[in-house]
Symmetry: none
Subunit: 281 residues, 4 copies
């Protein structure tokens, strides 16, 4: 009888660990940015098991589109339901998903060329270090990926190409491949010119050194865009460009437009694809 | 015996963690109403993950029919089982479901025209603010929906038409489209006349400004009524009226009467339909 | 050894019967009509087993819409595939399906009131007798049903109401409930007036004797029309009228328009529904 | 022994009836061509039911690629297995599939500009009429489709664009969009120039009259090419061109190369897509 009770106790103790493996979304986290001179919002998805275990996890930076903020992937993208599902199915490894806010006051993921607002600097010099200090993240390149939709697809492409040492894999969805300058700015002609070359696919690939090209090819790419998307041309041409430059990539065109139903469908695919980098296939 | 108690203690401690991601129904909540000069009951369904995460959720106001109260959808409607299921299947986004009591002392969702009882005022000025203060609710119009059956279907229709800036979507089931005056009242002829125009589908649509019509069309509608329902005429005519006024809507007539088996079937459909507003399709 | 061979022979003989039970469509049959003074085309679906057995079968008259002819249900309606399927699933009894041509020279299923063209007379006095002489058809009312789409849905309604002793069940789909006079005619005012009353739902039901009403109620009705169909009003009003007159009927409104995808979906439902008359539930 | 023979005789007699509703592939049919001054091979797939019924069927012309002949789709493409399956699943309507040989002596589907070899003339003036005389084919445009892979994808594109009155739908797979001149020829510069314009996508679309553009848009298009296909550029550019000219089309890029596994996968999709033209959706 005593043994039976002990068994029960053990069962309960251990099943506590077993069944407590639910994922957790934190929607309203903040990181203090000295570069941007403000607090920036971001959200985090912690995978099932995060609280019960003490192991470290790979991390995906998942970028929202224009008009949304850090909560877009949570509410419209249903990231928790989808990540839970593909992880439960064994199609993706448990990973941490970080969703930063790039909405206000200047929409976008890049540095404004007049130096007034440096989001890209914030992202690499403040956000990533903050994430890696705050959560149990594996910080090697091979455990870090980036994805995003539309404007965030553009962020994905240029973050990966400009920082290839930082990402093992990149999954731009319905990406805009042009980085445009918004509103008024005080940048010099030279600065604007540099900006246009720094965020132009063809310019980057044409001027890349052999070593850079090797770095671009080391990144695993998953590119997707619906056949009814208004950005069909950006993506078709990116496929042509990558093929012509022999940059290995997966490219998908499925039925759909510039819509959340397309991105939810492709988020599942992207998590599965990116995860292969984390588990070495 | 001592061990058994320890076991129980462990069970309680760990099951807290274990079941944190289950949905939760609170049946006997109260909100203090100064407008109605009483405490009003309401029930709430909190989706799986509500306690474990800190994110905010969309909200559905789900209205009971005549003769029921705020517990009707819980007991007869099996709202927890059905919402859990469609959420688990990925057909609906996690949402909070609020079920207010509109039973005693005056049955119904509208203001009695003699000013003695103003339930509609209570709903918009006290209940919704209370809900949004108490729970992690996304309070933009695009994250708020209304549904209900029979008398609550009528509530759904007139809440949506009279407050179109408040709801992204509306799903009246087996609705009564006429708002009737009950029992004795002290309303003037003028007040009664105004009441009859304010709660009359045809009158509302015929007298609507272009701007109001646009607002009606922005609402996503799901209208359903069984072919054996005694309210077949209200709903057939509403379909005709909405078609003739070019108000986009989904309309379904399935096999069934004015019964809970019909509403349980349609609750699943409604949750899926309404959720599309919350996730941008 | 000899016995083994005999066994084989028997097997072959009997399996010939067993496996030969495929359905058969004849697309280009003709019936000589003295009433119409021409040969009329019709098509026939013979159910699996028709050739192998000597039993008689129930019969469904399936009417095409305006602009089609007797081959519409075969090519667009995929009647063979759908009937084969619901019969194989045990949802419908094997039945013969007759698809007459009502296209040229005068489109429609009724008698032109000036007496120049009497399709309805042809249908009941020549086509049905020809079918029952040519195929192994059970000729009792209880084994005969009628269905059709659009203009053929109107044919279904008025054939059933004007000849209730002929049909056990009727399934109008996306029916037009108004029988209109086409082109020029030489009918007197009186004849036109009589025509308008004879093919007007409300007039028929309002002027029906008690005995006629009983006959209408004995027919089993399945009425269906998509919520996006331009004929939404005809069908919504027919539902209201039948309910108000207490004529039992199944009524369905599903997602869809005036399209073949709607009719193929509903053909399967109609075959199952009509078949219940043939098998006594 | 005698019994064994009897058994065999019975088997033959009855199995004729038994298997009558199976599909049938004829691989080695011939049509006499006066235009090409030779007999040309072609293969035909007759759908299940063809022999048992007397109805007419829609027809798909399915073109092989360079290096194959009329048997390619049968042996490598597994057309019988795949068509049987999608028809049995109700995803495609029964149809006749004609697979002509365009291999020897001059590979390709077009007229050689020096007039020495006029395959395109043969196809439209001799093959199609022969097929429609020999088999129970519905000969209206709405019942005729064309598809093909690689060189046959190019044949599909230009047959559809140059004869839009002949095809309801077109499904080029992994198409080469350039029609090249092979080997030696005696064509004048003018003839070559005309050939290059007649078989150049951009030239055709840029010089099309409004009426021609309408005809191109009336065709239902399904375009597909794997992301690893060496013809990625032809197809990406065709998508861009069709989008920019507002020609409605479905476009798919799936994982795969210029391989039969890709075409078998897409044949099933194409049959389902093309069939929608035959059944009016």
């Amino acid at each position: 009888m005593k043994n039976a009770l002990l068994t029960l106790i053990f069962l309960v103790i251990f099943s506590g660990g077993i069944f407590a493996q639910e994922s957790k979304v934190s929607e309203t986290l903040k990181v203090k940015s000295e570069i941007l001179r403000m607090d920036r919002n971001f959200s985090v998805y912690l995978p099932p098991g995060y609280e019960a275990n003490d192991r470290a996890y790979p991390v995906l930076y998942l970028l929202h589109g224009s008009g949304d903020d850090h909560t877009g992937w949570i509410q419209f993208g249903q990231v928790q339901h989808i990540a839970d599902r593909v992880i439960a199915e064994g199609k993706a490894a448990p990973m941490i998903i970080v969703m930063p806010d790039a909405n206000e006051p200047v929409r976008g993921y890049f540095n404004v060329p007049d130096g007034s607002y440096a989001y890209e600097d914030f992202f690499f010099k403040e956000l990533i270090p903050h994430v890696e200090k705050t959560f149990r993240v594996r910080s090697d390149r091979r455990y870090r990926a980036v994805s995003g939709l539309s404007m965030g697809g553009g962020g994905t492409i240029y973050y990966a190409l400009r920082h290839p040492d930082m990402f093992a894999a990149a999954a731009p969805m319905s990406a805009t491949t042009s980085a445009w300058l918004r509103g008024e700015h005080k940048a010099s002609e030279q600065q604007v010119d540099a900006f246009r070359k720094a965020y132009n696919l063809e310019a980057i690939l044409n001027s890349a050194s052999e070593q850079q090209m090797e770095a671009f090819k080391r990144i695993r790419w998953y590119i997707t865009c619906g056949d009814d998307d208004f950005l069909y041309k950006d993506n078709s041409e990116m496929h042509i460009l990558f093929r012509s430059k022999n940059i290995p990539h997966e490219y998908r065109v499925k039925d759909g437009g510039h819509t959340w139903s397309y991105w939810r469908m492709e988020l599942a695919e992207a998590l599965e694809f990116l995860s292969k980098s984390f588990t070495q296939f």
